[in-house]
């Protein structure tokens, strides 16, 4: 256990399970509702290092850096018949595990790490798997949990474009 109560652990776990369900079932508006207005989503570029203990992620380079307003545009776009890369919609499945919680601000903010595997399938490509660690900041506002920040630490130095097109 990570020093938080079993109740809180369960609550955060359920929050993440529900959140993944919204992404997998393309209920984007409901998903956006789980985001804090200042939400930031970043996918830093992984780099191989000689020293295994050095950080594996670039401090400047990013595959993605998105805000809540930017993500809502992305979803607004997905509603259009002309969003070639979204129609037909891909099959998406999130597997979320290895939950680790560190309390940052008692009762208000937590650093939440999970391991995720995301499967995405959409012809003409074969299904692709992407594995990553997510480092989230989850906060409680007016009793509700909200996602404040998500950093996706991909497990490959050179992803393909299909792996990059999912939201982790």
């Amino acid at each position: 256990m990570s020093g938080v109560s079993i109740e809180l652990h369960r609550e955060i776990e359920q929050f993440l399970v529900d959140e993944a369900d919204l992404l997998d079932t393309h209920r984007q508006a409901e998903w956006l509702d789980l985001l804090h207005d200042d939400f930031s989503y970043r996918v830093p570029v992984p780099v191989a290092r000689e020293e295994p203990t050095q950080d594996h992620y670039d401090a400047v380079l990013e595959f993605a850096n998105e805000s809540k307003s930017f993500l809502s545009m992305r979803f607004q776009r997905a509603d259009s018949d002309f969003a070639w890369a979204e129609r037909p919609a891909a099959f998406v499945r999130h597997f979320v595990s290895n939950l680790r919680i560190d309390e940052l601000d008692p009762g208000r903010a937590w650093r939440v790490r999970t391991n995720v595997m995301v499967v995405r399938a959409r012809l003409p490509e074969s299904p692709v798997l992407a594995s990553a660690e997510r480092v989230d900041r989850i906060e409680r506002h007016d009793g509700r949990l909200l996602l404040r920040e998500r950093v996706v630490r991909l497990d490959t130095e050179r992803p393909n474009d299909s792996q990059l097109s999912s939201i982790f």
Binding site: V45, A48, L61, N65, S72, M73, N160, L164
Partner: protein, 424 residues
């Protein structure tokens, strides 16, 4: 009267391994290939690893400041001597038998050299295979051809335009952060043709971007032109037609605009430009754009400049290396925002890019075979239509006074076929 013929490129060039082998031997084997930007390796011992056609190469800087591009393959048994994407080192040590090569590629050490090798053994013949290197506008190019055209000759009329793109500000440009790579679906030439001057796809492929209002200035009243040169290079430039818009390169800080150091024609080439993109034959792509608007972010809209290098992996897949260039003298905050917009609009995970990548993979999926998939692609756009307005600048190359035309793609295919057929 038809002034220009269309071109015919067999579809097999987009799916055959044999065609790819010939491309690697001639186009990638003999031409000048873009490797990186000199700002990526500012100090002695700095290096990056890249692809040059099918060859893994190291681009390094030696003590005396020289840039080397050499095959990343030990001269003993061929093991890659460098495994990292970038770094700084005094030597590359092969992990198999321990031969050591300097940053200049020379063989510096051989374990057991005195006792295990005879008097005829000559390490000076066993340095890493060196490519010929030349640098223009900060861009490092290399070729395996030890003689033949100089880089300058090979860039031809495109050099003038590269100067306009990369040497507008007196301090020049530098790479922000470094490079990263993504592997994508589709023959490498599809991506190159798209950048060469495909203004035609914007309103369909990127329709949602216009609908969302995020293409900013490009949605206004604009006039575009394309330029090409017999070496196969291409460029497309689009300008705000509104005379009321200030005559500056849009999207830069005033302090930076004050450092512009260019002649009148180069300035006019950049003033009021909404987007300039193109390619240096065969596989360097570039794009610079005026501000775009993404959502309600208060982060402001700034210009960005991106480079890409396209490397074939097999007939159906290619590797894209991305760089974002920023003016050296821009403020740190401007650089950060420019990188952010480059990622959001033209990064591999961006939705603008998603539309293009989706089309590339659908072209690949629709290739067909040697029985049914034989109808060549069509390149007639803009033929016999007549030219339109006059560009704001005068410069070298064949300037076509039309935006929606496949003149650049025709020129590119012509050059490509010349090279491919010459080798037969």
């Amino acid at each position: 009267m038809t002034l220009e013929q269309s071109v015919n490129i067999p579809r097999s060039y987009y799916r055959d391994q044999g065609a790819l082998e010939r491309e690697l031997a001639t186009i990638f084997g003999e031409g000048w290939i873009f490797i990186g930007h000199e700002s990526e390796i500012p100090a002695a011992g700095d290096y990056v690893t890249r692809n040059m056609g099918a060859n893994p190469v190291i681009m390094s800087r030696t003590e005396d400041g020289e840039i080397h591009v050499m095959l990343n393959s030990c001269t003993h048994r061929g093991t890659q001597v460098c495994k990292l994407a970038y770094g700084n080192t005094t030597a590359f040590r092969c992990g198999y038998h321990g031969w050591v090569f300097g940053a200049d590629g020379d063989l510096k050490g051989v374990p057991g050299r005195r006792s295990l090798y005879g008097p005829e053994f000559d390490p000076s013949r066993l340095g890493l295979r060196q490519a010929r290197v030349a640098v223009r506008c900060g861009l490092v190019f290399a070729t395996w051809a030890q003689d033949g055209l100089s880089l300058e000759e090979s860039l031809g009329d495109m050099l003038w335009y590269l100067q306009g793109l990369l040497e507008l500000f007196s301090g020049g440009l530098e790479v922000h952060g470094g490079a990263h790579t993504v592997d994508v679906r589709g023959n490498w030439k599809i991506h190159v043709e798209n950048f060469a001057g495909d203004g035609y796809h914007l309103k369909t492929a990127h329709k949602t971007m216009f609908d969302l209002g995020v293409v900013g200035t490009q949605a206004g009243t604009v006039e575009g032109f394309v330029v090409n040169d017999p070496h196969g290079h291409s460029l497309r430039a689009q300008y705000l037609a509104d005379e009321g818009v200030p005559a500056v390169a849009p999207g830069y800080e005033d302090e930076l605009l004050a450092t512009i150091d260019a002649d009148e024609q180069h300035r006019r080439f950049r003033e009021r430009a909404t987007v300039i993109h193109g390619m240096v034959y065969p596989n360097l792509l570039f794009i610079t754009t005026a501000p775009l608007y993404f959502g309600t972010d208060a982060d402001g809209a700034v210009a960005f400049t991106q480079l890409r290098q396209i490397t074939p992996l097999d007939p159906h897949r290619h590797r894209v290396t991305y760089w974002t260039l920023v003016p050296k003298d821009a403020s740190p905050d401007w650089k950060r925002r420019s990188y952010l917009y480059s990622t959001r609009q033209h990064g591999a995970a961006s939705f603008f890019e998603a539309d293009d990548l989706e089309n590339f993979r659908r072209i690949d999926a629709g290739l067909g075979d040697s029985v049914a998939g034989v109808a060549p692609y069509n390149y007639e756009l803009g033929l016999d239509v007549g030219e339109r307005s006059t560009p704001p600048w005068t410069g070298p190359g064949r300037i076509v006074r039309q935006d929606l035309t496949e003149a650049n793609q025709r020129n590119l295919v012509k050059r490509y076929l010349e090279q491919m057929e010459a080798g037969r």
